[in-house]
Symmetry: C2
DNA sequence: AGGCTATCTGAATGAGCGTTCAGTACATGC
DNA sequence: GCATGTACTGAACGCTCATTCAGATAGCCT
């Protein structure tokens, strides 16, 4: 029934295959988000993308291939989004504040913590995923580190140990986010942002 | 072939069934630890326990039943171990220090962070697991909270907000532990304990 | 027009795995 | 001794699901 709904005559059809591939990739991410890596089926992906199972396997070699590709897409987009998002902020304090909001999912959603949780567990058993998550983590931590250094240079922050502060603040974000992802009754995006912001003020000895 | 290796005559055989059940439960925990919840098979459990698949299903109704039972066992043991462990310490500072070591896996292993990660992801999709993890988290956080209050009463700690400090320190532990569980190259048990201890000193405004 | 290749589909295949089941062994109560 | 129930096993059974495959369709080169 999913047939040539349109005449198919002209230029459009040419770029269709790439579009299709992209759609499948997006669908894969969606499925992982809702069903998890372990629960993702080829049929789920095909249905979400509105294609046949065969096509999923045609473009990516296997289910694992599709999952890997989705992971890569996620990694790239995370990096781009983060970089662009932070670029828009003016000073170190604003950037830091923005990171609190990003982690809380208040700003433009850079990622979805449920997805990160899934990635972590997959990383427990799959070396590829392990590398991806390490890379993602490093990027986030580096971004944080840079903001801190910028703040120190500007005289806004005065951490006793910038390195340790960066690792702790990044880790704190992870830990708080777990509760958010798991819908712990006493955690909300706002509370997360506040808790993290206060910790940052403490760690970095901010003035206000 | 796994036969009556011993005469089987006397008193021993009477308590065998319960022993067997226990063995299967332990085996289940082990399998989850290595293969994860999603990767655990009835055959894995049976093999690890040295029994038939049939017996696993005989004692626990289904694979899910075995996993749930293992989860419950874990929860109970976690609580008992934690309570006993902390009881042995003398003052709030020692207790807090001990919690740092427990989290780092340096003290007597209260739990295994890989298992917690698995639990978190299972909690994303299974309400039972969600409740279990919430309960475990609450216990840990409450224990921390009590140590903090004890320290405040003793004049050792002076947090600006005890509640927030407890949540942050608990969350920080989770976040740091993720890196440990995932064998991030720049995280070791000692480093985790140090990082967390320093954060505690900062949050609680400890003297030394 | 007529092959050639890329894209796509739906059905078939077959492996893996949870669960069921018929049956064995052994202990206990009558 | 015989019946009954509990513990246990190994062999099916049947279902789910990734992967394969034999085409269908349509653009492209000659």
């Amino acid at each position: 029934m999913a047939k040539g709904t349109l005449p198919s005559s002209d230029s459009l059809s040419a770029k269709a295959p790439e579009e299709r591939r992209e759609r499948i990739l997006r669908a894969t991410v969606d499925v992982v988000r809702t069903r998890g890596f372990a629960g993702a089926r080829v049929s789920d992906i095909a249905e979400a993308a509105g294609t046949s199972q065969g096509l999923v396997l045609y473009h990516f070699h296997s289910l694992a291939g599709a999952l890997d590709a989705a992971l890569t897409l996620l990694e790239d987009e995370f990096y781009d989004d983060l970089a662009r998002d932070l670029q828009e902020q003016v000073g170190p304090v604003e950037r830091l504040r923005h990171m609190a909001d990003l982690g809380a999912g208040l700003g433009p959603a850079v990622g979805d913590w449920r997805l990160w949780l899934e990635l972590w567990v997959r990383a427990l058993h799959d070396p590829d995923a392990r590398e991806t998550r390490e890379s993602l983590d490093r990027r986030w931590r580096t971004a944080l580190r840079e903001v801190i250094e910028e703040g120190v240079a500007a005289g806004e922050f005065a951490p006793s140990d910038a390195d340790a502060a960066a690792i702790r603040l990044a880790s704190l974000m992870d830990g708080l986010a777990i509760q958010l992802a798991l819908e712990d009754p006493d955690m909300t995006p706002e509370r997360l942002a506040d808790l993290w912001w206060d910790a940052a003020a403490l760690e970095l000895r901010m003035s206000p």
